[in-house]
């Protein structure tokens, strides 16, 4: 167990262990993969509300008069000119268009910004930012070790969040907080950022708070949300939830050798922007035709296709599964795969442990998100 001694903890690690969290190493942290069970936790977020400790994410604050233009030159989406409180989803690319990471960029003030990156890419992104830092006009402040991140996700998340004592005089603001916007307030130990974002496809929020405030918030949410059926949710359900609504996960749909156009996040790539790292390569790729694309597969034969499974069309390799599992909501095996753009119809199969199992391409995404509008709206199903 010498490995676990090197793992980072979060302010909630002890809580997870004391409350049946099954702990696993994840991106250098010891994190809860499940509590009650992935199916129950998944359903809890789809139908009610769940809490996630996602403190492992990286939070890098950027400030200075040069911050706006500098960040814009490093990310694929447009962040210049956005109002304070606005959040933009981005990829950060290499010169060749490969994705270093996907991330949220927050405008917190006129010259203050926040970049939230994946834990698994935190060191890489820190290094990339340092390397590209101009001589003056931009300051970096990596507060990841001091910042806890709690996600409150599910159709009852707004109701639950508004019961927090610390938000008592902010209720109207929280209630009217729009998707991909954030507000800030002074909490007991320092500034809180309340963000209407998430990774589940449900109405939800993410709270960036000082480490010192994390346990009190977590416990207060569980107590005040008891009648709503709130429960802690592990990383396993976080994965199945994002999978069903086809949100990309770095290391799966996104990689350094996958372009954002291939990964299906072209909507977050503004090729009309004057310049950003990777732009030339992506403009060229778009003109030449994107060679691969992410498709949704339904496994119609018997089996579950996992990451790395080969996708075959009439016996020939046409791509690989990037994510695959049994969908708890749709109750069937589904997969996302990166395949040759040319393929559309035809007899498709996935290789599951040496056997070719039938599958077919279905429309993207598997399930529509309910992040905007009525949190309990009817879903569009394929």
């Amino acid at each position: 167990m010498s490995e676990s001694t090197n793992l980072k903890s979060t302010p909630l690690t002890d809580w997870h262990k004391q409350h049946g969290g099954k702990m696993v190493p994840f991106a250098g942290f010891e994190m809860p993969v499940q509590y009650e069970g992935v199916l129950a936790e998944h359903a809890c977020v789809r139908e009610k509300v769940g809490l996630f400790d996602i403190t492992h994410m990286g939070e890098i604050f950027v400030s200075g008069p040069g911050a706006e233009a500098w960040i814009d030159g490093l990310v694929t989406n447009r962040v210049t000119g956005i109002p304070t409180g606005k959040i933009v989803y981005n990829a950060m690319c290499r010169e060749d268009g490969g994705v270093l990471d996907d991330m949220l960029v927050y405008r917190l003030g006129e010259i203050e910004w926040l970049i939230v990156c994946n834990a698994s890419n935190h060191a890489k992104i820190s290094g990339w930012l340092e390397k590209n830092l101009p001589a003056d006009g931009v300051d970096l402040d990596d507060r990841s070790d001091k910042t806890a991140l709690i996600a409150v996700q599910g159709p009852d998340s707004r109701e639950l969040l508004c019961r927090l004592e610390a938000l008592a005089d902010k209720v109207p603001d929280v209630e009217s907080l729009k998707f991909y916007t954030a507000l800030t307030l002074e909490g007991p130990a320092g500034r809180w950022i309340v963000s209407r974002t998430g990774y589940t496809g449900e109405h939800g929020y993410e709270l960036y708070v000082p480490n010192e405030d994390a346990v009190a918030i977590w416990e207060e949410l569980l107590v005040r949300g008891e009648d709503l059926g709130v429960a802690p949710i592990g990383l396993a359900a976080r994965d199945t939830l994002r999978f069903e609504v086809c949100y990309c996960l770095y290391g799966h749909e996104l990689e350094e050798d996958i372009s954002p156009l291939e990964a299906g996040i072209g909507w977050a790539v503004k090729l009309k922007k004057e310049n950003f790292v990777g732009r030339e390569a992506l403009v060229r790729q778009k003109a030449d035709g994107v060679p691969r694309r992410i498709v949704c597969l339904e496994i119609t034969g018997r089996g579950i296709a996992r990451q790395g499974a080969r996708v075959l069309r009439e016996g020939r390799d046409v791509g690989l599964v990037t994510s695959g599992t049994f969908s708890p909501s749709l109750k069937k095996p589904l997969a996302m795969a990166l395949v040759d753009s040319a393929i559309s119809e035809g007899d498709l199969a996935v290789d599951i442990r040496g056997r070719q199992i039938e599958c077919r391409i279905i429309s993207f995404p598997f399930m529509s998100a309910r992040t905007k509008g009525d949190p309990r709206s009817e879903r569009t199903l394929p």
Partner: protein, 125 residues
């Protein structure tokens, strides 16, 4: 804790012998470690295997586990209920969630398996 009417394997399977036929399933411990089982691939009845052969798979949302044959023999029955309702492996792994039955070709192989006390020790008492 560990029922003493059957034998156990290092792979956390159990085998219960009745009239030369062994009923095989996974233990409570294995079911807990796997998490929610969502798919079970069972062997075909009539097929013959050697001790230790992989004869099927159990998949949870996150993981895939192989099903090993604890003793050589012929598969004489599979639990269709488990194929249709994989969650039986979680809810009742030691009884209703049995996986398949094998007609033993060499009963002496049973001697290599653990009894309840030994398996209990493997689990840490």
């Amino acid at each position: 804790m560990v029922p003493d009417d059957r034998k156990y394997t290092q792979e956390h399977e159990w085998i219960l012998i009745e009239d030369g036929v062994g009923t095989i399933g996974v233990t409570d411990f294995a079911a807990g470690e796997l998490g929610d089982v969502v798919f079970v691939e069972l062997p075909e009845t009539g097929s013959e295997f050697n001790q230790g052969d992989t004869v099927g798979t159990i998949e949870s949302v996150k993981a895939v586990a192989d099903m090993f044959l604890p003793v050589s023999g012929e598969i004489v029955e599979v639990n269709e209920a488990v194929a249709d309702t994989p969650e039986l492996v979680n809810s009742d792994p030691m009884e209703e969630g049995w996986l398949f039955k094998v007609k033993l070709s060499d009963a002496s192989e049973l001697d290599q398996l653990m009894d309840a006390a030994a398996y209990g020790e493997l689990l840490g008492g």
